[in-house]
Structures are given as structure tokens and as C-alpha cells.
Amino acid sequence: MKLIITSLEQGLIFAILGMGVILTFKVLGESDLSVEGTFPFGAFIFAKFVSMGFNPIASTALAFCLGTLAGLMTSTLFIKLKIKPILAGILTMTMLYSINLRINGKANVPLFNYDSVFDSGSTLIILIVLVIAIKLIIDLFLKTETGYLLVATGDNETLVRSLGVNSNKYKVMGFMLANGLIALSGALMSQYQGFADITMGTGVMVVGLASIIIGDTIKKNASWFKNTSRAIVGATIYKIMGGIAIDLGLAPTDLKAISAFIVIAFIAYNNVALDLFGKASKKEGRELNVKGTKPIKEF
């Protein structure tokens, strides 16, 4: 039981990361690989502010705000300097590595002595409320005029420009929001585990993708089952499965390989198996058919 709750809590923290990853990978259809730098970035920003005496809620909010700058960086690199998005993300991630070490001047900051957002009640309930609130805000946002332009930018930039709108602005916005959420997720994780660490970002990109992929396989064609819900369900299932695997004797360090395997298996199924067996019509077979998005196919 303890195991399930711990996994659920971690899953909810990763659900926020997953919702961020969805904005870039699925809504905009661009690969943002800066995630592994942005996640600890959020943690270190939180550590910095909370250790300066800011209250934990403000410090967490600041992690979100400053996290958006990572998205601004990546999108500027690929829009203004025409660097391929994948490389732009890697460059941002690499820069963030050095920046993260600079923020507090060390690679590991213990946070046990500081307040956290989880102090005010049950961790699980706080996380559930927070995650649902974020989900609802994103869902509502995607229904606004601006939100639809974000979706349309990922779907057909030509159309967006023909509406008299600069589609690049919406790419920047999507990247900023996504990175803000990922930094927020990192800030929460550092409070949950009691420290910020430079290595905490390693592999989170793949965890995020695995979560989305798991979420996508559930009720594939139900359009009422929104992307955001998929990220939440996917991340929690992923973490619970991981928790059970560890309980069965697997080393926690093996989980990263497993998450990579989930991603490989799914994409291979989508790219190779469907063609091999001629399953489903080409038109629909490849589509994850999730509202307003494309399948993850970049890799």
C-alpha cells in the first residue's frame, strides 16, 4: 500500500512533466530535448529561493516562471538562428547543466531543513489538487482563441500565417509553457525527495515519452479522453508499474532501461509492425488519434 501511494505521488509529479512534454511533442509536433536540463533547473531554482527565505509556494511558482526561459532559449535558437529543434534542445540542456551548478554553487542541495509545499497537508491530496488544476487550466487554455492557434501551429503553420498571425510566436509560447511545467515538476520532485541534484534530470525525457505513450494506448480512439488526462494516467501507471517492478526485486537503476524499452517497443510497433501486417488503413493506423495532435514519430 505504501508502495502504491509513493508511486502514485511520484506519478503525479511526473504527470506535470508529461503535460509539458505533450505541449511540445504532440501539440506542436517538435522535439524539445532540453527537458533533462529544465527538470533539475526547476529544482535548483526552488532550492535557491527557498534557501534565501522565500516561502515554498512562491519559490515553486518562481521555478515555473524562470523555467519558461529555458523554452524561450530553445525556441529562439531554432526560430531565429535556424538551428534544428533537436540540436537546439540539446544545446539548451547543455547550457543548463552549467547554469544549474552555478545557481547554488553545488551539485546537490539538501532541502530537509526548509519548508515545502507539501507541509500544509497530505502530499497525495495536495498533488491531486495541483495536477487536476493544471490539467483544467491547460484544457481551458487550448479551447481559447490563442490555444487553438497553438494547436493549429503544430498542425499546419501555413494556415496560421494565412490567418494573419505569426506562427513563430505560438511556437515560442508552447515551448515556454512546456518548460515552465517541466521546471515546476522538477521543483516539486526536489521537495518530495528532499534534495535537488544535478543528476535528477537524467532519463526524465524518456520517462515523459513513456508516460505519454502508455496514456495513448488507453482508449485510443476516445476523443473525450484528453491529452492532459492521458499524460496523468500514463505517468501514474508508469510509476506504479515501476514501483511493482522494484518490489519484485528489480534495481531502481534498471527502470530507465525499461522506460527506454517501452518507448522503443511502442514506436517500433507503430512504424514497423503496422506496415508489416498491413493492420488498419494507413491513414488511421499511424495516428494515435488524440485530439488535435500528431503521433510521436520523430525518432
Binding site: T144, Y148, N156, T158, R161, L163, G164, S167, G292
Partner: protein
């Protein structure tokens, strides 16, 4: 209405693949008329429209729309005055969104996009009516994603969306070329209806001479960056156009 003056455009300058497409090219488009542009493959028809719309930069010259030089404006700034339909039926719509969502977006063209809900129930009736006039039964499919529509349906929707806010200028680039002959005919007829209802100034590129003659008011043939023919459509026959083509072809071979 639209004046293209001294327009020059080359590609791959300084390489062995250098193409000098236009050299001090001039063109005058009349208001409320549909001007068809024909010409052999690669003669620069699409590039001309792209330069007018701003998706391809010009080397020099002026593009004057309603008395204002728009050649320095960005593509999205020009888009407020210019509607486009492309050869590829997916380019004029957002395939992942529904018909209703697509039309609601098109209806806000040129306005500010804020944090209000995009879909407003009170507009549904208006969109249904527009779609009904199209006569393809799309009015019953408002909540269908556009990617599930046929090419002809998509292209008709693109056309509606491009014309919805009555742009000063509509650019059609072989917009029926990717469709089968029957669908192509239907879309052409819809185009004609729409243009005469809204009186939109139009430039239509066509590879089909018959269509060009039938559906336009004026025909311009482009050749090597020059206007090789410029006549009222009613004064021109398919035979005449074909004869010119043939002569040019023979000239090339000789």
C-alpha cells in the same frame, strides 16, 4: 487594384543552377475580375503568387495592392488582405481540427486572438448556412475532423475559409489539380459561384486551358518571365492557346 512593377527574381544566384525567373516584370490586375495565369511547368507561376503573398522574397521591384506597396510586409501581414488556396488540399485547413473549429479560426482572420473561447454556439448557424450553400452536405459534419474529409471537400472548405472575410485579393494556385476530374469540376463551379457572389479579385493559376477560359475573365500566358499573351477570356479559344504552346515547344526544340 494589384500592380506588380519592375519585379525581378532569380534563384541560386552565382551557382551553375542559376535561374532568372523574372526581370523587370510588370503586371496589372483589375478589380473584381478573375485573371487566369497559364504557362508551361516551371515558368514561374507559383513563384509569382508566392511573391505576391510574401512567402517567397522578391529581389527587387514593387507589389502594390490598393495603392500601398506591400512588398516589404511580412507574409502574415499581407495575409489580412490576401486569401490563398493551394494545390495541396491539406495546406488551406487544419486537418486535425473539426470543420467548425477551422471555420471559427478563419472567421477571426485579421482580428486579435485572445483568451476568449474560440467556439461560440451563436455562430454555428451562420457556418451551417455557408456550408449549406456549398451543397456538399458539410453542414451536417461540423464536428468532423477535416482529415476525414475527401480532397474535394477539403479544397471546397479551404476556398470558403480563404474567401470568408472577403479578402481584397484571392490567389488560387492550381487548386483543383490534385482532384479527380469530376471533383475538380465541382470545385471549379463552387469557385465561380463564390467569386461572383463576393466579387473577389482573383488570380487563378490553371494547368487546364479549358477551365482557364471558362472560369476567368482574362487570360495571361507566362513564358520565360514575360507575358506571352494577354486577352479577355471570351476572345480566346482553346485551339489558339494550344497552337501557341505548340509553337513555343517547337521553337525550344529547334
Amino acid at each position: 487594384m494589384l500592380k506588380v512593377q519592375n519585379l525581378s527574381k532569380s534563384f541560386n544566384v552565382g551557382t551553375e543552377n542559376e535561374i532568372n525567373l523574372f526581370n523587370r516584370f510588370n503586371l496589372n490586375i483589375e478589380e473584381h475580375k478573375c485573371t487566369a495565369i497559364i504557362g508551361s511547368n516551371g515558368c514561374g507561376k507559383s513563384t509569382l503568387l508566392n511573391m505576391i503573398a510574401g512567402s517567397v522574397p522578391i529581389d527587387s521591384g514593387e507589389i502594390i495592392l490598393n495603392g500601398e506597396d506591400i512588398s516589404k510586409l511580412k507574409e502574415e501581414e499581407r495575409a489580412i488582405h490576401i486569401g490563398r488556396v493551394y494545390q495541396d488540399p491539406s495546406l488551406g485547413v487544419s486537418p486535425a481540427l473539426t470543420i467548425l473549429e477551422n471555420m471559427s479560426l478563419a472567421d477571426k482572420k485579421g482580428e486579435k486572438f485572445g483568451l476568449k473561447r474560440l467556439i461560440r454556439k451563436e455562430n454555428n448557424e451562420k457556418y451551417e448556412e455557408i456550408l449549406k450553400a456549398l451543397g456538399l452536405g458539410l453542414e451536417n459534419k461540423l464536428n468532423t475532423r477535416v482529415k476525414f474529409l475527401s480532397g474535394g471537400q477539403r479544397q471546397s472548405l479551404s476556398l470558403l475559409m480563404a474567401a470568408m472575410k472577403h479578402p481584397d485579393l484571392l490567389l488560387l494556385d492550381e487548386h483543383t489539380a490534385a482532384l479527380d476530374p469530376k471533383t475538380s469540376h465541382v470545385v471549379m463551379r463552387k469557385t465561380k459561384e463564390l467569386l461572383s457572389n463576393y466579387k473577389i479579385t482573383t488570380i487563378m493559376i490553371s494547368h487546364n486551358m479549358k477551365d482557364a477560359i471558362e472560369y476567368s475573365d482574362r487570360i495571361i500566358m507566362l513564358d520565360k518571365g514575360e507575358i506571352a499573351l494577354d486577352k479577355r477570356s471570351c476572345d480566346v479559344s482553346e485551339e489558339e492557346l494550344l497552337a501557341i504552346y505548340k509553337a513555343k515547344l517547337e521553337e525550344q526544340i529547334a
